[in-house]
Symmetry: C2
Subunit: 458 residues, 2 copies
């Protein structure tokens, strides 16, 4: 699998200079993505592709091939895989569609045929019927979407059963400043399924949290066993679609698996310590928090807010999700009362509005709350206003120094371009994780606590 | 109220050149926001402010004042209001805090005193304890946040009991391309409450949908009566915080109102035809759909998707929210089967993946579904991939021409900068409303249907 995800050489079988062919887009992904290893276009009908010398087959390539990306028609795939086996290719990304996901039973027969070839040769295959995969740390874009190279490198590995969802989350993450180690489209899972990916990613030094998008798995037990085997090592969070009857039927049809039944998955995932979330955006939000935050030692949350309204929206979600808006210890409350005039909420949630101009007071409030034993995590909410533009600078040092000894989850929001860089720097320093709404921030804190509880159960 | 929201002249009482004073930020809002009427800084200690001739009081201003924005300390407000009354000021935005929201009972006494002055003089007052208000169509930024002028002008009026939530939604909307007619921070509601705003906005030609953020109202009956009085005229959608006990207590404390009890609000709002939503982001999402879409004639939805995964996530939400993923009519299904090869889902949801390169086929599928009597609304989902970059261009004409005879709600997503302009143009043409996730798009469709049902009940 290492050679698959971090190959020294890549062949594109079915490479093309014609933009109406996927083989063109795959070549573009590798070239524009800045892949630094040997790149070998394979196409019997071309001398050069993208200006690079092309070969008629992997068997006549001058360099040994670590990874072959296959984009030939389905009918040619078996032959290509045999050539790959003979040439001792170490891993394959099989983009070609038209196997067991189609109405025609011939697709399933073909699937079995190529599975046998790959398994006999012990070649791990991502796909078929996938957009491919991306290793952002290795500048390897082995997909038909060159724009995946625009994604930020980061700590989250996304493993998805749907190319559409991979694209969705990839693009959402670009806007949210969330980074990935790898984005992997499993497709029809010839011999690399969620379980194999979990095993691999648990030992992947670039990955701190594993996010799964699941439609249906043939053998869920494999994944559950893998998750249990690595329990406590790295968090796994999953979004399983198909909670409704239509989505479930569609999932079964789309992926060629029969095992839908949403509740069974939820229960089994929980038993295996896998956190489940109900939405695409939540998958990203939870993975981001799990990759960057310490886990709370209990459900007690302090809500510190620059304005009262957002803190109420956050408190509502906290209470719905099993977090407690704790009553501060006597010392903490006394300190806050010294620092804040009696003009606004001073108990939990704390409205720090009256201290906008007083960065020292805000810092002292945060410090007092951090030291309160009843507080297990801090929700920090602040909306920009012209008058509080310096407030973030005032507390950055403290937040960095604190280094999330207890988790700090925030909703710090400004018009585009004002606080963006400062927030990104705080996130990069792992001083906090930030979300665009107070409710998403509160949910992220709840996910941290739910994950902690799952670890305790196991 | 017209003079308040669209004044020919504005006085800033407490104007300042000192950036540590709110009077500075208010002046900056008006000047940088491009307000085109007469601007009169009032400050007895200055000759000029922002280079504009200042006056000691509104009573000595050379022009009659339509709107006075007041940012003097609380102790001076009563005197200032008397001067405004004497000078026949037509409306006031009272930013000053320190009235009934503070711990000290003197605040409530002061509130009553200034209420009597304003009511006797029949001057409508926004505030006290507010960031102000913005009329984006009139380039009037009567707030202490100059950055509100960066918001897009649009059809939604946001009326909020929290400055923090106004800032939050204002900034979120900038990122989402959502536009406002007005953003109004009600503060402690001296004599302009939700009911008065609803009455005013129902006749405001710039406003197509009214979004309310509610913490607690002294006399909810007034708002309900106003909503019923204007039933069917313009949609009202409300987010009420305080569903949990902490948020509820905080809301009561923050706004000085005693009437929390979340369920009672939800029920009463429903009776009055006001749609309620559970989150800040949802308030924006629902208002955006209600301002731009026709209403579905029934719960039947067609889900057309460029990829299968996102359609499953959308179907799950549709089913949860009372929408039906209808079985297409025989003719529709036959037409789709002609247009799509049997490689993917062809019933509802439709996976149009195999037709990526065939804009004509995608157009025909959409047209067939639009004409199906069982379909009341269309969810259109498409994730960008290098290979389908032209797909959006291919269908833009059809969507514009169709003009939402049935609502079209979409999740069309690309990396930043690729499809953004095209999507914005389609939204501006009211050909569709677009959301960043399939679930938010599905929710928006559900809000349209829920709103339709509320109208039927009334």
């Amino acid at each position: 699998m290492n050679s698959l995800f971090d190959p020294k050489s890549v062949a594109v079988i079915g490479a093309s200079d014609n933009p109406s062919k996927l083989g063109f887009h795959v070549m573009k992904s590798l070239v524009k993505g800045g892949y630094e290893g040997s790149l070998v276009p394979v196409n019997p009908g071309a001398e050069r592709i993208f200006g690079i010398k092309a070969f008629a087959s992997v068997s006549v390539s001058q360099v040994p091939i670590d990874l072959a990306i296959v984009v030939v028609p389905a009918s040619l795939v078996a032959g290509v895989l045999k050539e790959c086996a003979a040439a001792r290719v170490k891993g394959i990304v099989l983009i070609t569609a038209g196997f067991k996901e189609i109405d025609d039973p011939a697709g399933a027969v073909l699937h079995e045929e190529i599975a046998e070839i790959a398994n006999q040769a012990k070649i791990p295959v991502i796909g078929p019927n996938t957009f491919g995969m991306v290793n952002l740390r290795a500048k390897l874009n082995a997909s038909f979407t060159p724009e995946f190279s625009m994604a930020n490198p980061g700590d989250i590995a996304l493993v998805s059963q749907s190319g559409g969802i991979s694209h969705l989350l990839g693009f959402l993450a670009m806007g949210d400043g969330v980074g990935f180690s790898k984005i992997v489209g499993l497709g029809n899972r010839l011999n690399v399924d969620f379980a194999q990916m979990a095993d691999y990613l648990m030992d992947d030094p670039d990955t701190r949290a594993i996010a799964l998008y699941v439609e249906g798995i043939d053998d869920p037990g494999e994944l559950l066993a893998a998750a249990k085997r690595h329990a406590g090592k790295k968090p796994i969070v999953a979004f399983k679609s198909g909670s409704g009857s239509v989505g479930d039927a569609a999932a079964r049809s789309h992926t060629g698996t029969m095992a839908g039944r949403h509740e069974i998955y939820s229960h089994a995932f929980k038993q295996a310590g896998i956190l489940t979330v109900p939405r695409t955006q939540a998958l990203l939000d939870a993975a981001k928090a799990l990759a960057a935050c310490s886990l709370p030692g209990g459900p007690g949350v302090a809500v510190l807010s620059g304005q009262a309204g957002p803190s109420m929206a956050a408190c509502d979600v906290c209470e719905q999700r099993g977090l407690e808006i704790v009553r501060f210890g006597t010392d903490t409350q006394a300190r806050i009362n010294e620092l804040l005039p009696p003009l606004a909420l001073r108990t939990n949630p704390v409205d720090m509005g009256p201290a906008w101009y007083d960065a020292a007071a805000i810092k002292e409030i945060i410090r007092a709350v951090m030291d309160d034993k009843k507080v297990h995590g801090i929700l920090f909410l602040m909306m920009f206003a012209s008058a509080n533009v310096d407030a973030l600078t005032g507390i950055s040092g403290l937040l960095r120094e604190w280094g999330q000894k207890k988790p700090v989850v925030s909703c710090i929001l400004s018009p585009p371009g004002i606080w963006d860089d400062q927030i990104q720097e705080l996130e990069d320093a792992k001083a906090l994780v930030n979300y665009a709404t107070p409710e998403r921030a509160a949910c992220a804190m709840a996910y941290l606590w739910e994950h902690k509880l799952l670890q305790r159960i196991m």
